[in-house]
Subunit: 360 residues, 2 copies
């Protein structure tokens, strides 16, 4: 068969144009006579690739000069340790627990100090975002931590928490570059590339410069110290070069789409098609409190395990793949990242509607 | 122009067949309807990719069941910290300093305990391997550490050190899979993929099982604890999936070439072409003590900075690229990894000979 509509939560769909370009350049990158995979990371063509990627990312988000952009490895899971190792000078930090990934980050934080869970939505299977307007922020907290979009549960912080002046650290893996964002509200924003940005194996950190220092926790590995890579423009050692190259192509593609304003509008339209259908469906039901719904990850259920399974199987036959929900929520989940075309969402809703009628 | 002969020290040349296959599969991996970059790491096709890669690697080296194979991130530089964090129970380790990378590993080891430099060849710009038959191995050493092939200096341990019963840990980044190896002589063998195995962003650890425990140093990040990934078959979090896929293709290619016996023989032949020429040349001179020469990285000089620069520039024009030596040795360096065809080495020697005659 041809290309399917891939609703995977991550690694996830990438723009077809990006993949086609990468394929065409695989044996010979623009007349250099070799693949990007074979290039020294100190070579001129690669320097241009990584510098252009950073410049385009800065332009897309509007990153001011007092923020550093780092291309790192190890995924968000490794930043769960890097964040406290680089920031926990008072050995206190506040975590808002809105899902499994926030919880993992919190547990990792506890290795290094007093990581406090100051709010949680675990009581209702993380199906909402807690009220964060007046939380008991710790007076000596080094930072307040959130996972901004919760891939598994389909929630998103549409309003950032009131951190009462403390630095905000956000894992944005599953909503990176999905809409315009005011980076100055964040001290650290980071995310794994493999959902909205590129292949697995790249994590991008955007860090306010004053937080990048030698004053890290004792025992911090050189590679986890942000200053190591900041001083070397992400080239302290060999970076995940091919992944960065693909990310760079995605940044260009996002610019071609009109930038984050346009992308955000398109993502709202795409999500509305699915949520509007869910809200009137007699068979399918969204699992998330309406005001906290993610534009990227949309979980839904029928209420029957057999029907859920039948739906996932039949959808796959129809070229709509990876719709099985995460085991902790059950049912289905459609991840509709930047690269998922509107036509894919329309086809999904059409298929859901047909399934609903067949099972009425 | 077409493909060049790429003598880069890493990232480095990959087999053209591997790249061509990857290009052909970029938009649709074997009828799955998506790229490997877009695949969930929990999906069946990816499970098959990583399991086949591991099985082929085990077959190539002959890895017994009591060794685990891990596909990790962060390069060798991150393992410089992971090694002591996972192994330094007595807080003592012995390092043999044969180049910049061994030295970096040693310095990183000192963050975690008493890392002792028990031998060094720094006195002669690391141009030889010290006699390691009777070293002052520390009685309470948790391990003895070497960098087996020194990319920058072009030396290799042709005999492993006598560790007097202590566990041997070896960084084999630049000689990985270049010849047959008895893995049972090592406690830990690891290497970055970007020289002989695949793209940057993957590091492969082969670890004797009894060394993979929860008994790690306090403060070890979950992602640096080997047991985390060992328990999860390298899928604790999203792995560098596309890189692993390319590594897997290279393993298949190595098997097609006849395995490590055949590859080792070919690498000896290739290196001999270059070393034999150097040994009779009146212009070019190898920089390494003969008995310690690497099969992979061959540094050489003319003795004149201007001639060196002219050589590098003219070679590039002739399609022989990335021959500039590392600044700490100067001159030239030809990295002739597995994927460098014999024809590439022959062309290099032919070019050197022509250059020598022109400058006689």
């Amino acid at each position: 068969m041809g290309r399917v509509y891939n609703f995977s939560a991550g690694p996830a769909v990438l723009p077809e144009e990006v993949l086609a370009e990468a394929a065409a350049e695989m044996l010979d990158y623009r007349g250099v006579g070799m693949s990007v995979m074979e290039m020294s990371h100190r070579s001129k063509p690669f320097a241009e690739i990584i510098e252009t990627a950073e410049a385009d990312l800065r332009e897309l988000i509007g990153i001011p000069d007092n923020y550093k952009v780092l291309f790192l490895q190890g995924g968000a899971s490794q930043q769960f340790a890097a964040v406290p190792m680089n920031l926990m000078r008072n050995r206190v930090a506040d975590y808002i627990i809105t899902g499994s990934w926030a919880k993992k980050a919190w547990k990792e934080g506890k290795i290094y100090g007093d990581a406090r869970a100051i709010a949680s939505s675990e009581d209702e299977t993380f199906s909402y975002i807690p009220d964060c307007s007046d939380l008991p922020i710790s007076e000596d907290a080094d930072y307040v931590y959130i996972c901004e979009n919760n891939t598994i549960y389909g929630t998103k912080f549409h309003t950032l928490p009131n951190t009462k002046g403390k630095d905000l650290v956000a894992d944005v893996s599953s909503c990176f570059l999905s809409e315009p964002v005011d980076i100055t509200k964040y001290a650290v924003m980071y995310g794994g590339a493999q959902k909205n940005i590129g292949p697995a194996g790249v994590v991008i950190d955007i860090i306010r410069e004053d937080l990048i220092t030698d004053d890290v926790l004792e025992g911090t590995p050189t590679m986890l110290k942000w200053k190591t890579q900041a001083d070397a423009d992400s080239l302290y050692n060999t970076p995940p070069a091919y992944g960065i190259y693909i990310c760079g192509k995605v940044f260009k593609w996002l610019k071609d789409q009109g930038g984050l304003e346009a992308i955000g509008k398109r993502n709202e339209e795409k999500a509305a098609i699915l949520y509007d259908y869910l809200d009137q469906s007699k068979l399918f039901k969204g699992t998330v409190r309406k005001e906290d719904r993610s534009l990227m990850n949309v979980p839904f259920v029928t209420g029957s395990d057999e029907l859920d399974a039948a739906f996932v199987a039949e959808a796959k036959e129809a070229g709509l793949v990876n719709l099985k929900g995460h085991r902790s929520v059950g049912g289905m989940r459609a991840s509709i990242y930047n690269a998922m075309p509107k036509a894919g969402v329309e086809k999904l809703v059409e298929f859901m509607d047909g399934f609903e009628k067949a099972h009425a």
